[in-house]
């Protein structure tokens, strides 16, 4: 049995409990390739110690089915970090640091569909790994902003060169950030919120 005896379960610390008045949650997804700084960003703004939720993915017979009749499935555990920010005593915001590969997104239904929006973290040393993520978000109609995580040895391109390289519409914000700094991560989230707000204003004025 894999389940821990319930006595050994460590729940939230007292200061991590939400008030009973909390009515609803909203979520924002931070998405990007491996090592781009998702966990770092979640950790720098979260009011709780970042947590991890896991999901098991079973892939039937990838590639050659050389083992027909016996165990031809492989199970992979995919982990996603998340953090939390209390907005009011009725509303709470969750941040999910999500792997860039779309095949993982199905594991958590509604992950993107229900999110307010997404922050796409990019590393200019490996810009191409973000291409697929951006395309998928466009397809799903998930509003997003781009945050360039400034690694010291990464090439620095003018924002407009990045916009054109990423083929982004002029209204999509591109900001630089340092995911290790709380203020910088917060400003990135604010950029997303202002963008979402402007989208609502545009919608309302049509």
């Amino acid at each position: 049995m894999d389940f821990k005896s319930s006595d050994t379960i460590t729940g939230p610390r007292t200061e991590d409990r939400l008030p009973h008045s909390t009515q609803a949650a909203v979520k924002i997804v931070i998405v990007g390739g491996f090592g781009v700084g998702k966990t770092t960003m979640v950790g720098s703004v979260s009011e709780i110690r970042p947590l991890t939720t896991e999901e098991t993915m079973t892939q039937a017979g990838i590639g050659v089915d050389d083992n027909y009749g016996s165990d031809s499935k492989t199970a992979t555990t995919v982990a996603m970090d998340f953090g939390r920010i209390s907005i009011t005593d009725q509303l709470v915001l969750y941040l999910f640091g999500t792997p860039g590969q779309e095949r993982f997104w199905f594991l958590w239904s509604g992950l993107f569909e229900g999110a307010l929006g997404a922050v796409v973290l990019i590393d200019t040393r490996r810009l191409e790994v973000s291409f697929d993520v951006i395309g998928r978000l466009e397809e799903r109609g998930v509003p997003f902003v781009i945050a360039v995580n400034s690694f010291p040895d990464a090439p620095r391109y003018p924002i407009e060169d990045l916009r054109s390289a990423l083929d982004l519409a002029p209204e999509i914000p591109i900001v630089e950030c340092d995911a290790r700094r709380r203020a910088s991560s917060r400003d990135t989230l604010m950029t997303l919120m202002r963008f979402l707000h402007s989208l609502e204003l545009t919608k309302a004025s049509v």
Binding site: A25, T58, V78, Y94, F106, E139, G141, D161, D167, R186
Partner: protein
């Protein structure tokens, strides 16, 4: 120096309904392995745990619980409750998201949703639905979030 160039996909305005996305679920995305050099993000070997507690299959019956649906216990654990149910009920004496329950219980999200479905049916817990983008059209919500972030 010039950065590599992405080509924008044809913009699709209509989002497919969530059910449709569900059906093309795990494994159906066989062709998407080209997007990263290191495809191992977050992956850990831990086979078959999904089946240990519930016998559920990934496509099986589940309540429509979001990662951030808030769960609140509305009763004490019944004496006969299995240990994982009691643990769950104790954890959510104060509201807690399904994601947090999954993290604290160290169980996959899908297993937690199955456990919660039972507890919801037995009316031992209550679920508070998240505010999602589609039902939004509510600037005051966005303003509240901005205000909350400014306080950080």
């Amino acid at each position: 120096m010039t950065p590599p160039q992405r080509r924008r996909r044809y913009p699709i305005k209509q989002e497919p309904p969530p059910e449709q996305l569900q059906q093309s679920a795990p494994g159906a995305e066989g062709g998407t392995g080209q997007e990263g050099t290191k495809g191992k993000e977050g992956e850990r070997k831990n086979p078959e745990r999904l089946y240990v507690l519930t016998g559920a299959t990934p496509g099986g019956e589940r309540a429509s619980l979001d990662l951030v649906t808030l769960i609140v216990a509305c009763a004490e654990p019944p004496p006969a409750a299995p240990p994982e149910q009691s643990a769950l009920l104790r954890l959510c004496k104060a509201p807690l998201s399904v994601a947090e329950l999954s993290a604290y219980l160290n169980l996959p999200f899908s297993v937690v949703t199955v456990l919660l479905t039972e507890l919801l049916t037995a009316e031992l817990v209550q679920a508070r639905d998240p505010l999602i983008r589609q039902s939004l059209a509510d600037r005051s919500l966005l303003e509240a979030v901005m205000h909350g972030l400014q306080k950080l």
